[in-house]
Subunit: 382 residues, 4 copies
């Protein structure tokens, strides 16, 4: 028999509610998030909700129209207020430049929409705090899109740490190295201080801070340098920091856009009293695991793709690796699940509080760079 | 302004013709191909054609119905003949078990539909030849889904070789190592000789043969062993072969499902008179390139993700790697482009002739395993 | 106090007997063995015997004189018979070209001297058998210098296999890849068939065969290709073989001097029913160990340098790696221990029987290359 | 003919002058240095001087007597003053604990002997300065044994940098990670502040500082943390520092004895405006080299073992790697060459000035750890 005669297939999937998505931004993050929303309904099965791409907003009319066509948004607009006022939108996704994170995200939340905002949450801790405070007051779900928490290897790391397999954490060494900044002729909003807030710090360093917090805990102090190498560049090219954590661990946090040969090398290592972990985003499907003891001790290269590995129920047979873009499927699925079940985004998803706390560390790095002093962190509450 | 007032976005994408897809098979390959068809319209922009998922066929009614819902096929059927007779289908994609490659694929082609067939094309060279002959006679486009030709690193390898950067090729060493076969309790069509034809040979070894042919050239002889380790298993667990190529290169071809710790390790190395290449599918975004000469000679680990790298116009910024599933986007885009432009699938896409020629090598491996002799290859023409 | 007043230090070391060494060959192997004899007395403490470098022989007077000076031999000669008749020599070390392995080694043994002979033992199985037979009849200790058995990682591999940690062995894939042969202008005895017997086969392939035997067991059959690429070269440039072992394992054995970019890449992998091992001589201090099971399964990179690792009592603190030359210290220490204790050289040291058996496999590879057939092995006894 | 009738071999080597060596210390460094002195006469040919192992000193009579026997020193003593007054000693080698670096080294130099002193030179900058000042005044050759400058890959790195191949240096990230300190029951002089001065800082961090200086240039400031994890330990377990160099480069310097799984991982990376380098002492024969540009850009793994690579004239054919112990052969050969030719130890050998300057950086790290401030460096002159 066949559906030509039998039918009924639409019924089941039809029982999964739709959720209208409004997207701000059509460039790099717009592509990454739109791809994820389109894949969730069949890669994660059954999906918690079925994203419906309702509308996309951007400043350039031609580009936003093309993006709407390309990604399948039903409508487009050059005015983000249209997203906020759109009754078909339940989830507002802010993938725009840092300068337009605050106002639209707050407005959307105040209009009752759940919100995703790309990192860094705000251009500094104050702005980030304001976003968090305003959004938290509305009661909607909020996710700061630190997508690297949703790399299977990173989640596995967290699970190993939570299970005590590393013992007491003593060291975190994290560095996010890229090299695309080494082009004096390049211009992007990421090089403008008013639009970006900072350079390698907010763009890359914020990721390091977030995973440091996710895997080790909150940062207690930073002793840092902030440096701009290229003449005329408004924002930092790199940051270097020695850090202490509240739990006593120590280490380094670094980010740069001038590490020639490193294209997306978000590398980190964690040493504990029982074992160690090491990771490199350029090989995002792998994690190095060391457990103390035994005659064949050493770092084990785990290809994170087993049926009992995080997120792997969505993907392929073991060894058939996923890509960078797929981390957004894992991430936005998590948010949709939280919305569908009215569950907490934390601890595995970064909330706006996490976005704010990362910004406090970034601010402290800037302060330390200027003061030449070890800067102690203090975090505001709501 | 916005599309709320302006509209028109649908017009442009509407100018790209649709192509109706009928899929046979809803399991591993059904998921991989369906995902690719759904991603092509926005990841490759503008797409050559817009796939419309018309119908999916499979033996188990419940499963095929669920697959139709999940992947968004408009209809489903338990009888593949419905796909062949469906006027809405222009492209027939055969992702079913090996035993159902021949009849449905030939029927679809004879019904005027372009055809994709998973590898191995047939269960042996005779069946593969029959498929090729029958399909070629119809004039439709045909692609044997050796998707690893569409790994960016593999295409880059081919381009380097075509440009003469390796000089004369002397060695090819290819091995496809997995370990999932090491489970006596496991049962699948892949272990039944009538359904699969062979074991690690057709499943994995065929991939090695195909890339050997794609990168080095046709195989002239094989001296091989075929071995089954697990009691009661109907098909081979592994093959081992010393091979000669028509151009004089020599090397080895191996495949096994019993290499514990190797999950998807399709590893190959090519040595030429000017340089060498090495690859491992578990790190599919990387290729090792050696060029002779210079004080800092050595293998360079190229992260294949640059704007001037193959297929990378579809994907992400450098260093933001793709996954195994994404190779099907590259592959099926290639086929859609060939259909849209009435262009050749060869040389970069594997045609049914390539599927047949790989089968001749696989058959020779079986013959050599039985005869204990070096078996010379001869290939039939149409 | 000090030895200026106290003395006595010489007494203890003086209690360790000396052993007079006569060396044939002053080039590559002469340097490697002489270095080992000089290091044993203090790196292995207390040494089983204290080597005394009595005499060195070589064809070129100027060169052998210089070698005697350089390495500290008390005498030198251009006639190896002088070593055989030298009463001060108890251990005869044959590091000369393959063509002078048989006669001097047999003569030395018949003169009652223990003998070391570089690999391959003879230029073919017949010659190797004659050497073994003649030397075994004398009752002296004999070691065929397959030094790679004395790489700590290799010994560790053997110990793990002996302990059953890999279970039943199913696969051995060994390849010894170098690239120095890719120079048409180069001339050496290694390219002359009368002096070398064979090319990459006896030079490199013999090492692969020996470790295959040491780690897996005796070879039952080979299906092989033998190929010479460079015009005018008398010996093979490479061999490729599919092999069966007597215990049922299957795999490949390869060697080449034309693998551009591979300088000393003796790589092997072993898969068993419980685990796997992988090794590369270019990183000779490391072994990759896979054990099945667990959520963090994968290959562990063991830096073989722990106090409980083979040979490590001779060397440095963990992580302070040894070099290729140091493997000869381990090897010749083993022989001196066997001589001092009148213990067996086997199973960890390769005896002349091992040298002969490896030669049978090499001969079978040549025969298979010529016959185009799978050649079964048979081994002669004394 | 042979030396039995001809002789004369001793003549040539006899023309190379001997140099009497007095060694303080018989443990780890005593073994490493003694081994080097014994290997130099034949591994480096012709050697600049022939070391004669005259006398060895140490506190424990039994141990020093055994060491004399083992390494072949003609005499031994429990009083280092005997070395200073020994007319047979021309070169004094101080391999003792840090607390006995100053007095014996200065005394030996003042007695007219050339001096080698293990790192760190003194227990702090003041002591190091005093040693440098006193020794420099005597006019003897002085070498602070930062042996890692004599790793072939490190020298190659320096040569590439000197040749401008990296362009302007922007980043140095160096970390020396070991894990043997993670043993509360262990006691050694290295854990006693009076004997060692500091912990991971002086032991491992000093190496990082020295290579940073050798490869990048002098350090301008440090912002650091100093931490002791294990209860009751008198010295630091680790240090973490963000650093600026006088030439504007920035980066990090770290050392720890608590990085589980890292046995001797002195890892560093340098990024310049034209290229990058990366290194790990656990694979000391390799260096990763990145040069910008080209379609196959990436890090090249150079196996530093070619005839045109540093120090390789002493060693083996390409790909036949050296060990950690062999770096001392390269280092002490350099010193003997400087003595023989009355040439400068600098710039490739670390002088006592280098030892002092490294100590200033280490002191600044301690000061910064205490003050919480970025500490600027200032260096004293003679």
């Amino acid at each position: 028999m066949s559906s030509l005669t039998g039918g009924g297939a639409e019924t089941a999937v039809g029982e999964i509610p739709e959720i209208g998505v409004g997207m701000l931004g059509y460039a790099f993050m717009g592509k990454a998030h739109s791809n994820a929303f389109r894949k969730i309904p069949y890669m994660t099965w059954p999906p918690p909700l079925r994203p419906r791409l309702v509308s996309i907003a951007g400043r350039n009319e031609e580009a936003v129209r093309a993006a709407a066509e390309r990604y399948g948004y039903e409508r487009w607009t050059t005015d983000w207020h249209d997203l906020v006022s759109d009754p078909g939108i339940t989830l507002f996704d802010n993938g725009g430049p840092n300068a337009v994170h605050a106002e639209p995200t707050i407005a959307a939340a105040q209009a009752g929409k759940h919100v995703v905002c790309e990192k860094p949450l705000g251009r500094d801790a104050d702005e980030s705090y304001e976003i968090w405070k305003a959004v938290a007051a509305t009661g909607v779900k909020h996710l700061c899109a630190f997508n690297y928490r949703f790399v299977p290897a990173v989640r596995l790391a967290r699970e190993l740490i939570d299970a005590g397999e590393l013992g007491e954490i003593r060291h975190f060494r994290g560095r996010y190295l890229q090299d695309w900044g080494d082009d004096p002729s390049l211009d992007t909003w990421r090089f403008h201080s008013d639009e970006a807030g900072s350079g390698a710090l907010g763009d890359l360093g914020a990721h390091v801070v977030d995973l440091a917090r996710y895997l080790v805990g909150d940062v207690a102090s930073v002793s840092a340098l902030v440096k701009t190498f290229l003449p005329g560049r408004q924002v930092d090219d790199c940051i270097e920091a020695a850090v202490e954590f509240e739990n006593g661990a120590v280490g380094t946090i670094e980010s740069t856009r001038l590490a020639l040969g490193r294209r997306n090398a978000f590398q980190w290592e964690i040493n504990g009293s029982k074992g160690s972990l090491a990771f490199d985003m350029e090989r995002l499907n792998e994690i190095q695991v060391f457990r103390n003891g035994g005659r064949t001790r050493g770092f084990t290269t785990v290809l994170v793709s087993e049926v009992d590995h995080p997120f792997w129920e969505f993907w392929w047979p073991p060894g058939h690796i996923i890509g960078w873009g797929d981390t957004f499927v894992n991430e936005l699925h998590h948010l949709l699940r939280a919305i569908a079940d009215d569950a907490d985004v934390a601890p595995h998803g970064a909330t706006f509080e996490d976005g704010y706390r990362a910004a406090e560390v970034c601010d402290a790095i800037v302060r330390s760079g200027e003061s030449g002093k070890r800067e102690q962190l203090s975090y505001r509450s709501l």
